[in-house]
């Protein structure tokens, strides 16, 4: 008994500093934010009023425009569009690049170049995106001009129809490196013998890809999906640096909306409501990821 107590006691002593720090810097602010979202600035209980205010504001969902008219549609819709386009493209591109560059000469160098996007701080990435799509100095409008696509030869971030898309494309450029690196690492764990056996059975490149590579990479892919989803839900810095959510809110996202509520409107209660909504979304992804990982471990 004494030995057991000593064993557990030592464990508790070691985790104590981490628990204290997490309680101060993570648990307390999270709980305080949650509480704040149910009160007004005067400290009066307002129930779900802050959530209703946020969710019915045109900056969150503009039902008078969505889906019949063009953007701006609101931050929630923009986040959803971001996920719908950015998630499959980055995951698939990362996987394809990882497979294609796996065995070729100079593959490691190309992978490093693609990974550079991950090394750049996202706030700098936002500035790069702004200039990348700028009519006067950007590569993208220049390419459009060169190929005669004059309809797209303008500053993409300045127009509501293209502002969000320019950010998503820029973000794909920056984030694909993550998916690529994870999948490349996953590829190295697939036993060679599986491919050799498939070749003996007469399997071609596509069959090997779909019946060996994709299923064997599934655990890695699920981590990539979860991390990418979290990145997309809380996307902030790119939007802040490139468009500030504009023009007219056409590239507004939830995190930026929360920032404006807190630091421009100085309404910390509304900002807390947005933070709580964001936390709920991230919790869903987080729980899915943890359950997936645990299921994988049991297997």
């Amino acid at each position: 008994m004494e030995r057991r107590l000593k064993h557990w006691g030592t464990g508790y002593i070691f985790i104590f500093p981490a628990v204290v720090l997490m309680a101060i810097f993570i648990v307390y602010p999270a709980v305080k934010t949650l509480f704040q979202s149910f009160f007004d600035a005067g400290g009066n209980w307002v129930g779900l009023k802050n959530f209703i205010t946020v969710l019915t504001h045109y900056e969150t969902i503009d039902l008078s425009r969505f889906p019949k008219k063009g953007p701006p549609w609101g931050s929630l819709i923009n986040n959803a569009i971001w996920i719908l386009i950015h998630l499959p493209v980055t995951v698939l591109l990362g996987m394809l690049f990882a497979v294609m560059l796996n065995k070729i000469k100079g593959g490691a160098f190309i992978k490093s170049v693609i990974f550079l996007g991950m090394v750049i701080p996202m706030i700098v990435g936002g500035v790069i995106i702004r200039f990348l799509f700028d009519e006067n100095s950007g590569v993208v409008p220049l390419l459009m001009r060169t190929f005669g696509i004059e309809a797209l030869d303008f500053t993409w971030t300045a127009y509501p129809q293209t502002a969000l898309m320019s950010l998503i494309l820029g973000s794909i450029l920056l984030w694909t490196g993550f998916s690529l690196t994870m999948h490349a690492a996953g590829l190295s764990t697939i036993p060679r013998e599986m491919y050799e056996a498939a070749e003996v059975d007469g399997a071609g490149i596509l069959r090997k890809f779909f019946f060996i590579t994709v299923p064997m990479l599934a655990p890695v892919t699920s981590v990539v999906i979860a991390m990418t989803l979290l990145y997309e839900i809380k996307i902030f810095d790119i939007v802040y640096a490139a468009t500030l959510g504009g023009p007219g809110g056409s590239s507004m996202v939830l995190s930026l909306q929360m920032y404006f509520y807190a630091f421009r409107r100085l309404d910390f209660n509304l900002a807390s409501a947005v933070a709580t909504i964001l936390t709920l979304f991230t919790l869903i992804v987080g729980i899915w990821l943890v359950r997936n990982t645990m299921r994988g471990e049991k297997r």
Binding site: Y58, P72, R130, D134, E135, N136, S137, F154, T155, A158, Y159, P160, L244, G245, G246, P247, G248, G249, S250, Y259, F260, Y261, F263, R264, R265, L266
Partner: protein, 397 residues
């Protein structure tokens, strides 16, 4: 070899001694930290004031460049912790008024300069919480005199001449658009919009929009947009929004003919002597804005910070600042002849106006300011969204 080693050791010892001496001297000097909204040439124009104070008081003044947008995000947490980024902080007056519990009362340094000052201080809770330092004026459309001379152009005297000038500029080879639209967070577009509102609605309209007694959806406001701004946007008189410092280069390089900007542009071009400026014909008022500063309660050098602030707004400090140009000093006892040539023109343009008015979005501030900038950016590329924009501006108040 031995000699070389000894020599090196001696040099090392001497260097250490000198460095330590220098460091000691530096350490003895009290240091005042100031966050300023200027960088590059704008900051260079301010530094002579700081240097003069440093010499006078034998102190060190450190200037850190911070935008208001960033400070407003950092300061609330710092103030809650009883800390401050600077001893003097430049930030919007509306923000300081909203956070007056963190500001030192500046009544004692304001009182001696009160009679010589043009703008009023920011007051809250019965105390002076922030003071205006320098003034900026937004006189109108800037052009290169050499460009106008070369193409036989002249400043317009009425609206028809203005529109025909735009057409002439638009027809010049190499010109993308007659007017370049500055962008950034959005304030350059709001400046040009305010100039139209003041010209065609008078100073009274601007003041009523500030105190919210006139709605953005009011027919008078809508008419100015509909009859004056929207036709120009639809005709392509304005360019798409271009990052405002990049816009200066493009305009100076001859891709655009006119640029609406504040008087700080005089410090940002290669040859300020080649600058010309005209207001919209009929303008009787002009926006002037101020750079505001306050001293946070959590400064460790409140007395010294007050001393520096008092020097900056004194006649001596204002005289040094006026000579550098780029900004107008906020005192009425400084001769316009002290300014460099380009700034003299601005000072004279200001004096020709019947009145000056406050900057609209700076005065309202808060999240509405961000909304105003953002909605105007939308209007500039989508002029048909006028009604939607005006409705949102009104709803956001």
């Amino acid at each position: 070899m031995k000699r070389i080693v000894i020599l090196l050791l001696c040099l090392l010892a001497a260097g250490t001694f000198l460095f330590a001496g220098g460091a000691k001297e530096e350490a003895v000097k009290p240091t005042i930290t100031m966050t300023v909204p200027w960088a590059g040439p704008e900051l260079e124009q301010f530094l002579p004031v700081v240097r003069a104070f440093e010499e006078k008081e034998n102190v060190k003044v450190k200037c850190l460049t911070y935008r208001g947008e960033d400070l407003s995000a950092v300061l609330p947490a710092q103030f809650e912790a009883g800390q401050s980024l600077g001893d003097i902080i430049f930030l919007w007056d509306w923000w300081v008024k909203k956070n007056d519990q963190h500001a030192v009362d500046l009544t004692d340094i304001w009182a001696p300069v009160k009679s010589a000052y043009i703008p009023s201080p920011a007051e809250a809770g019965g105390k002076v919480v922030a003071l205006p330092y320098v003034m900026v004026a937004k006189p109108g459309f800037w052009y290169r005199s050499s460009f106008f001379e070369k193409n036989g152009l002249k400043a317009p005297a009425n609206w028809d001449e203005f529109t025909s000038l735009l057409k002439k500029i638009g027809g010049i080879s190499g010109i993308k658009n007659p007017i370049v639209t500055g962008n950034g967070v959005g304030w350059p577009i709001s400046d040009v919009t305010e100039h139209f509102l003041i010209t065609f609605g008078g100073a009274e309209l601007q003041n009523k929009l500030i105190d919210k007694s006139v709605k953005w959806t009011d027919p008078q406001v809508r008419k100015i947009f509909e009859n004056r701004i929207i036709p120009l946007l639809k005709e392509g008189a304005f360019s798409d929004p271009v990052e405002w410092t990049q816009a200066i280069e493009l305009w100076w390089g001859g891709e655009y003919g006119l640029y609406f900007m504040g008087n700080w542009i005089t410090g940002m071009v290669e040859d300020a002597g080649d600058l010309g400026v005209f207001t919209l014909p009929g303008a009787k008022a002009m926006v002037t804005g101020q750079d505001w500063a306050f001293i946070p309660k959590y400064s460790e050098n409140i007395d010294l910070a007050k001393k520096l602030f008092a020097f900056m707004i004194s006649k001596e400090g204002a005289t040094i600042r006026a000579k550098q140009g780029g900004k107008l000093v906020a005192r009425n006892d400084i001769s316009s002849s002290l300014y460099p040539k380009a700034d003299q023109a601005v000072a004279e343009a200001v004096s020709k106006m019947e009145t000056t008015v406050l900057d609209l979005d700076d005065s309202i501030g808060g999240d509405w300011q961000r909304l105003f900038w953002d909605q105007l950016k939308l209007l500039w590329v989508s002029p048909d969204s006028l009604d939607d924009v005006l409705k949102k501006l009104q709803a956001g108040l």
